[in-house]
C-alpha cells in the first residue's frame, strides 16, 4: 500500500475529505464511469441471463429486480431463484448462500484499510462488494482530483445499477422468448461451469476442485436431491481442514494469476 493511500485512511485524511466532499462528488462520479464499462458489459449480460432464468422458472417480474437489488450477489441469486420454486428449506438456503458467498469474507479482509474512515459510504461499499466491484475498488486508484470514497461509491453504484437493469431487461426478454423454447435455464449451469474453470485455470493444485465435485456427487447419491446441500457443505469444509497439512502450500499459479485477475 502506498503512502498516499495510508494517509487517506488516517483521521487527518478524514477531515480533509469532509472539507472537499461537495465539489469532489461530481468529479468522482464522472471519473468512475469509464472504469465500470467492462463491468457494464458483463453485468448486463449476466443480469439478462438471470432475468431470463427467473422467467423460465415462472417467477414474476419483480422477483429478479428485487433479488438483484437486495441480494446483489450473482451466483447466489441463481441458486436462490432455484430454491424459491422448491420446498421451504430456510436453513439450507441460509447455509448455502453463506458458503457460496464465503469468498467475500476475503475481499472484506483486503478492504479493511481502504474502507476505513468513509462514514456512511462504507456501509454501501460493504453491501455492494461483488467480485467485480471488489476487483476494481481494490486495484484502481482514483485519478487526481477525485475523492477516494466517492470514486469507490460511484463504481459500486454504477455496477449495482447495471446488474438490476440487466435482471429486469432479462425478464422482459424471457417473456418474449419462453413458451417456445426449452432449456433456457441452462445459463445457470454454464455460468457455474465457467466460474469453476476460471478458478481451475488459476489454481496450481486441483485437489480442492475435485473434492468439491466428488463429495457433492457422493452426497447427492447418499442423501438424495432434496437433502444433499448441508451434508456436502459440511463434508467439503471438514475434509479441507483435515487435508490442511497436504494442501497448506496450495496457492495460485505463479505466472497466470495476475493476468487472469485483470481479465475478470
Amino acid at each position: 500500500m502506498s503512502e498516499t493511500e495510508r494517509d487517506n485512511s488516517l483521521p487527518s485524511g478524514r477531515s480533509q475529505e469532509k472539507a472537499s466532499q461537495g465539489g469532489n462528488a461530481g468529479r468522482s462520479a464522472l471519473a468512475a464511469f469509464p472504469v465500470t464499462l467492462p463491468v457494464m458489459a458483463g453485468y448486463l449480460f449476466l443480469g439478462i441471463s438471470y432475468g431470463i432464468y427467473c422467467h423460465s422458472l415462472g417467477l414474476s417480474w419483480f422477483y429478479p429486480i428485487v433479488i438483484a437489488a437486495c441480494v446483489y450477489a450473482g451466483s447466489a441469486e441463481f441458486v436462490l431463484a432455484n430454491f424459491l420454486m422448491g420446498g421451504f428449506h430456510p436453513l439450507s438456503v441460509f447455509i448455502m448462500i453463506f458458503v457460496i458467498n464465503a469468498r467475500h469474507l476475503f475481499y472484506g479482509l483486503s478492504m479493511l484499510e481502504k474502507f476505513a474512515g468513509l462514514g456512511w459510504k462504507r456501509l454501501y461499499l460493504i453491501f455492494g462488494m461483488t467480485d467485480e466491484t471488489f476487483s476494481i475498488n481494490y486495484a484502481i486508484e482514483p485519478p487526481r482530483g477525485a475523492d477516494r470514497g466517492w470514486f469507490m461509491f460511484f463504481i459500486t453504484l454504477y455496477n449495482h445499477f447495471y446488474w438490476v437493469a440487466g435482471a429486469g431487461l432479462g425478464w422482459v426478454i424471457g417473456d418474449m422468448l419462453t413458451g417456445q423454447i426449452k432449456g433456457v435455464s441452462f445459463v445457470m449451469t454454464a455460468l457455474f461451469v465457467v466460474i469453476f474453470m476460471e478458478q481451475w485455470l488459476k489454481d496450481a493444485n486441483h485437489i480442492p476442485a475435485c473434492l468439491g465435485i466428488a463429495l457433492t456427487v457422493i452426497c447427492v447419491l447418499l442423501f438424495g436431491r432434496e437433502n444433499f446441500v448441508i451434508p456436502s457443505m459440511a463434508a467439503i469444509c471438514l475434509l479441507l481442514l483435515v487435508l490442511r497439512p497436504v494442501l497448506r502450500n496450495t496457492g495460485k499459479k505463479a505466472g497466470g494469476s495476475k493476468r487472469a485477475e485483470e481479465r475478470r
Binding site: 449480460f45 441469486e77 441458486v79 421451504f88 469468498r103 441452462f186 461451469v193 469453476f196
Partner: protein, 109 residues
Amino acid sequence: MNGEQQAVIIVLAVAATLLTRAIPFIIFPEGKERPQTVLYLGRVLPAAVFGFLVVFCLKDTDFTAGAYGVPEMLSAAVTAAVHVLLRNMMVSIASGSLLYIVLVNFVTG
C-alpha cells in the same frame, strides 16, 4: 411455497450475503491478526464450492432415461472447453447454453 415463505427465504439470502461481506469489518478492526485457518480456507474453499455448484446445477439431470444426460454433459463440456480456449465468459456461457437449447429442442426432443 407461499408468498410469505418466499419473503423469508429472500430475507435470509440477503442476511447471509450481507454477513459474508460485513463480518471481516466487524471482527477484524484494522491491524488485528487474521488466523491462519481463515486464510487457508480462503485459498482452498472457492474451488471446492464452485465444484459443488456445478454438481448442484446438474442434480436434476436424469442419467437413466430420456437423453441419459447427454445434452447436459456435452453442453457443460463445450462450455468448459470454449472457456479454456478463449477465456471469455460471455462467449463461453452463450455457446454452451445455445448448444443445450438446440439439443433439447431439436435433437433429443
